[in-house]
């Protein structure tokens, strides 16, 4: 009974303190709104800057993701490193974790003739597994088959935009298109990836790699795409591929790719040698004695960097998963950095709160004295003035989030991929309210520590 009464009494007092705090902020609306403005500009800066950062991050991640999940790109960077198509075709059987693989051949600016229109287009040569590897189905017709590939058939699957431009929207499947002087039958149309997604595949033509090799008059392929079913499989495959190609090239370490070279699939490459467990298997070709490779790892990384600087990187094995992760990570850091810079302005807003609260305490000294005389305890006043600071920061926070969202919507109207992220709202609110509390504490303690007699003397 006594406890219940105490709790009730506590709430009655708390409610009154809250009411008095509200009275405090409404007693000088101009001053309050200026303080609120200080906080809301800070919050808006955090929300909008982090929004821009987050938008950039998402757009980059989605670009990478559109290249296909769990895809490994094996790419030659040196003229003496070449692949044979069979390596790709046999990869699913020979390498654990690889489900599909295709040789990849690119042609650039190949003359294409559609009826009477001549143009130049980029052609991609792959095998029949392309749709599975790139998670990129056809929307019209069919993809070409293994038979087409084997027989070097003149069949073509069009990128979404290419198809749309031909017959102003009608299906071009079954029509003939002339590529490099040879008639190709259009067998299918790929679904839309979107602008800037999937390495611009919407504007390209896909044909059997055998046919593309003929156009380029080559027996070798520059690139292999391998697909795993899961991220774990992908890692497993990368380790094995690293081992295989290490052996094949006969260089101890330089499978390890560099991190800045441009690849069609992206730009950050998987460090194979670092990930290979049990380096013993590789040592047959390694100049170092057995047992050394593990301890050599950090050093070999340094060597790799040197190799890259000399431009001698012969081969890169790139996991798109890791690309996405790393790009994501880099952008996240960028976003947090932006947010951090903006949060400084929140701090300035917090100082504004403190300033105004100190004035308020001085102004209401008489009132504090009266209330102390009526039985208010230190805690009552502490809570009141803390609440007052928190009110200001909460209002500033809400206004700031609205302002920031508005800024983000303006920015995204201008084509920047900005979004209001929950993270930014969380961080901004947290910092705003924390700074309200932090900067409200001192004035509130000042208020509560005023001796009643002193407070009553001042008017």
């Amino acid at each position: 009974m006594q406890n219940k009464g105490k709790i009730l009494s506590f709430f009655i007092r708390l409610k009154f303190s809250a009411l008095m705090a509200f009275d405090g902020i409404t007693s000088n609306l101009l001053r309050t709104s200026l303080t609120v403005l200080g906080i809301s500009i800070g919050v808006a800066a955090v929300v909008s800057l982090m929004g821009i950062g987050e938008g950039a991050r998402r757009s980059i991640v989605s670009q990478f993701e559109s290249l296909g999940e769990n895809v490994i790109v094996i790419k030659s960077n040196a003229e003496n490193v070449i692949f044979e198509p069979e390596e790709a075709e046999e990869m699913p059987d020979r390498v654990e974790g690889v489900e599909y693989a295709t040789p990849v051949v690119y042609t650039e600016d190949t003359p294409v003739r559609w009826r009477r229109d001549e143009s130049e287009m980029d052609i991609v040569g792959v095998n029949q597994h392309y749709p599975e590897i790139k998670d990129h189905p056809v929307i019209l017709g069919n993809f070409f088959t293994s038979l087409h590939v084997k027989q070097r058939s003149p069949v073509a699957v069009l990128g979404y935009n290419v198809a749309g431009n031909l017959l102003s929207g009608r299906s071009p499947v079954g029509q003939i298109i002339k590529i490099d002087g040879i008639n190709y039958r259009i067998v299918g149309v790929l679904s839309e990836k979107g602008k800037g997604q999937g390495d611009g595949i919407d504007d390209k033509i896909v044909i059997p790699y055998t046919s593309a090799m003929k156009i380029l008059d080559t027996k070798n392929i520059p690139e292999i795409w391998a697909k795993s079913i899961s991220a774990e499989d992908s890692e497993l495959a990368i380790v094995q591929l690293g081992r295989i190609y290490k052996r094949k090239i006969g260089l101890g370490y330089n499978i390890t790719p560099n991190n800045e070279q441009e690849a069609p699939g992206g730009d950050i490459d998987e460090d194979v040698s670092m990930e290979a467990p049990g380096g013993e298997e590789v040592i047959v070709e390694e100049p170092e004695p057995a047992g050394e490779p593990d301890s050599q790892d950090p050093e070999s990384e340094n060597k790799d960097e040197n190799v890259f600087k000399k431009g001698e990187e012969p081969l890169t094995i790139t996991s798109l998963n890791n690309l996405v992760e790393e790009a994501d990570q880099a952008n996240r850091i960028m976003t947090v950095l932006l947010g951090g810079i903006a949060a400084v302005s929140l701090l300035v807003g917090g100082i504004g709160i403190m300033n105004i609260m100190l004035v308020a305490v001085t102004e209401r000294t008489g009132e504090i004295g009266v209330r102390r005389a009526m039985g208010a305890k230190k805690g009552d006043l502490l809570i009141q003035f803390m609440l007052e600071a928190v009110y200001v920061s909460i209002i500033g926070c809400i206004v700031g989030i609205l302002l920031g969202s508005w800024a983000v919507s303006i920015v995204s109207n201008y084509g920047l991929p900005a979004v209001v992220s929950f993270d930014s709202v969380k961080i901004a609110s947290f910092v705003a309210i924390a700074s309200g509390l932090l900067f409200g504490v001192y004035p509130a303690i000042n208020a509560s520590n005023l001796p009643p007699v002193e407070a009553l003397k001042r008017q």
Binding site: G5, K6, L8, S9, F10, I12, R13, F16, D23, S27, G366, E367, G369, V370, R371, R372, A373, M374, G375, A376, K377, K378, G379, D380, P451, P452, V453, L456, Q459
Partner: protein, 232 residues
């Protein structure tokens, strides 16, 4: 019955290097239902004495017992509770909260006592009725005259049924006529068995008390029963 019992109360202030003895060896006891006027020129220590009685300030020496509580050993928080339970203050400048209406102002001591809204309403209205301002309870202080404001302040002082009302120059900011009305109100409350201690420097106001204590340089120089106006 003794409500206030002070023995050898001293109050030392430090003003820089100089020590000021605001109260020296003041021993005083005030009984239930008394109406005491404390008089003295400025600097005589009368306000300091009132502050010590009101638990707004602590004595630096001596013992003080208020309604059975030894005040000088209590914590700040307990002092607040004592003020809230046993004392009603009336100030020279009324000290009403400007943005609250009369009734809300009167309710404040009850809020700090943790009394619920319904009961607060009741008590506040009763108190305002006692001072004759029930019809003005929704007015803001700025909409009332000085005398009315002081009556609201008195209602606020009595609303929690304290043991004692402490008034510091209650008529100091009012004209003579209004001041007399306030004094009449005090007499009325006193007759309803409320103990009142007021500090004043005006003889004619002090005369309303049933007992007049005179201070000089922090010491009581006279303490006598006033046969005067109280029985008029």
């Amino acid at each position: 019955m003794e409500i206030i019992k002070m023995e050898n109360i001293a109050k030392l202030y430090k003003l820089g290097q100089v020590q000021v003895e605001a109260l020296k060896n003041v021993s005083l006891s005030i009984n239930d239902k008394e109406f005491v006027s404390i008089m003295g020129p400025s600097g005589s220590g009368k306000s300091t004495l009132l502050n010590v009685i009101g638990c707004l300030d602590r004595a630096t020496g001596g013992t003080y017992e208020l309604a059975g509580n030894f005040v000088d050993k209590l914590s700040d928080s307990k002092m607040s509770e004592i003020r809230n339970m046993f004392i009603g203050f009336v100030f020279q400048n009324f000290h009403l909260l400007p943005r609250m209406n009369a009734k809300k102002n009167v309710e404040i001591p009850l809020i700090y006592r943790g009394i619920n809204t319904k009961r607060r309403n009741e008590l506040a209205e009763n108190a305002l009725e006692m001072v004759g301002l029930k019809d003005r309870m929704h007015h803001l202080p700025s909409q009332m005259s000085g005398g009315q404001q002081q009556r609201v302040a008195i209602a606020r002082a009595i609303v929690g049924n304290p043991s004692i009302i402490l008034a510091d120059e209650p008529t100091g900011a009012l004209d003579t006529k209004t001041g007399e009305l306030i004094m009449e109100l005090f007499i009325k409350l006193n007759r309803k068995s409320m103990t009142i201690v007021q500090v004043t420097h005006a003889e004619e106001i002090a005369e309303y008390g049933s007992r007049i204590i005179r201070l000089m340089d922090g010491e009581i120089v006279s303490d006598e029963i006033n046969g005067g106006k109280i029985n008029v």
